[in-house]
């Protein structure tokens, strides 16, 4: 009996050192004897209060992180206003036009290339020639003033990116840009975080596909992607260890 009480005292002492130890009495009696300020319930209050304090300190960080990762700040799913409501769904899925018909430097340059007015006019000089929504295209053709598309994807200038390298190593458009061929208006599909780039640079076998499917807007990974991916990584000579060097992207 005496020993058990001593143990309680020790425990009390270790955790809530609010006053002098209670002595070897039961707690109720202890109160009466020593004019104790805190009731036993205070223990729970103190715990809750500490927890609350902790949360209040963490909350701004939590909100901060959530905000930074939210579509509101990353622009994911944003559909910027464009001078012409151009539809990839119509032109890519509907008409079967290859990405390279319009984004013609994507295979051999850092910049993917945006179609000049002339490219639209190869078809729209003959069809839909009086559609009102194509008036900006015709005006641009008449005056020589370029169409001003709003960027959907935009990395900060301190990051170097190169389309040709990715395309020639078997990374497909839809891995980074989502199902463009099914978008009536182009929206941003990926956040462009550094961690997003690194996720693939650490383990490209999760995403790499055969070169002949790079431009395929409907490609889906096979069941054994990891096995095939590893083979392709080897075949295309992807330098996995090197791809996380800071100087690859910040040069």
């Amino acid at each position: 009996m005496h020993r058990a009480l001593r143990r309680i005292e020790a425990v009390n002492h270790r955790f809530w050192d609010f006053g002098p130890p209670l002595g070897s009495f039961s707690r109720k009696r202890g109160c009466a004897l020593m004019g104790q300020i805190f009731r036993p319930r205070a223990n729970s209050f103190a715990r809750i209060a500490l927890l609350a304090l902790f949360l209040v300190i963490l909350l701004p960080f939590g909100i901060g992180f959530a905000l930074v990762r939210s579509p509101y700040l990353t622009g994911v799913d944003d559909v910027p206003r464009q001078p012409v409501p151009f539809s990839h769904q119509h032109h890519v899925s509907g008409l079967g036009i290859d990405c390279r018909y319009c984004h013609d430097s994507v295979e051999h340059a850092a910049f993917a290339g945006m179609p000049p007015t002339e490219t639209c006019m190869t078809c729209h000089s003959q069809i839909w020639t009086d559609a009102a929504m194509l008036e900006p295209v015709r005006e641009s053709w008449r005056t020589g003033k370029p169409l001003r598309w709003t960027r959907v994807y935009d990395l900060p200038d301190f990051v170097y990116f190169n389309h040709a390298v990715h395309v020639s190593h078997g990374i497909g458009c839809t891995t980074c840009h989502g199902p463009v061929g099914r978008m009536p208006l182009t929206r941003q599909a990926t956040p462009l975080f550094m961690s997003w780039c690194l996720d693939c640079h650490r383990a490209p076998e999760k995403y790499v596909r055969p070169r002949e499917h790079v431009f395929d807007p409907d490609w889906t990974p096979p069941r054994d992607q990891l096995v095939q991916g590893r083979q392709l990584v080897h075949e295309y000579g992807i330098r996995v260890g090197k791809l996380t060097d800071c100087s690859q992207c910040h040069r």
Binding site: L95, I97, F111, M114, M121, T122, S125, Q126, D157, F158
Partner: protein, 187 residues
């Protein structure tokens, strides 16, 4: 001063110095540097174009200066044909169709129908005719010179020749290629 109070003061000075340092992280000046990304707008140039159009008469450093030959300078290898097919499918097939019969997707939507490559006139046209059509355009067809490099133009010509052969192959051609079984299967 009591030690506790002094400690508190030191702590707040330290924090006061650290917090502005942390706030520096919010400054993202380098995210938009004073340089032009490709095709970025620039108020100081005509039409607000930072990408300046080439001066008339510019010759590319690696341009071929000899006049283009009458016949394709490329050998008819499998690699050339593959390249030709790829380029043809990207740039020509929307209108001329995968087999070159002029039944592409775009004519189906109301674009004037281009002629079939399998007519006698076009089958007898020299290689250079196709090359010139790609370079300069033809009638209502626009030029594709800015998107199809000279080498690729010859590859496309090679592939069109193969398409023309394929549509006029005889039984003997099939036997020579050892594909009779396939033909029977297809039937």
């Amino acid at each position: 001063m009591r030690p506790a109070k002094r400690g508190f003061r030191r702590l707040s000075i330290l924090l006061g110095m650290l917090v502005p340092l942390l706030l520096c992280g919010c400054e993202r000046d380098m995210a938009d540097q004073p340089k032009y990304e490709p095709l970025e707008a620039a108020a100081i140039f005509p039409n607000d174009q930072s990408a300046r159009p080439l001066v008339e008469g510019t010759v590319a450093r690696d341009a071929v200066l000899e006049p283009r030959p009458e016949r394709s300078p490329l050998p008819m290898t499998e690699a050339v044909l593959k390249r030709g097919r790829e380029r043809y499918d990207i740039y020509c097939s929307p209108c001329h169709g995968r087999t070159g019969d002029g039944e592409g997707m775009i004519p189906e939507r109301g674009f004037p129908r281009p002629p079939s490559y399998h007519s006698d006139r076009l089958r007898n046209a020299p290689d250079s005719h196709y090359y010139d059509v790609i370079t300069e355009g033809f009638g209502i067809m626009f030029s594709y010179a800015n998107r199809v490099a000279p080498e690729d133009r010859w590859a496309i010509v090679a592939y069109i020749r193969a398409l023309q052969l394929s549509q006029h192959a005889t039984r003997d051609d099939v036997r020579e290629a050892g594909l009779e079984d396939k033909l029977r299967e297809a039937k």
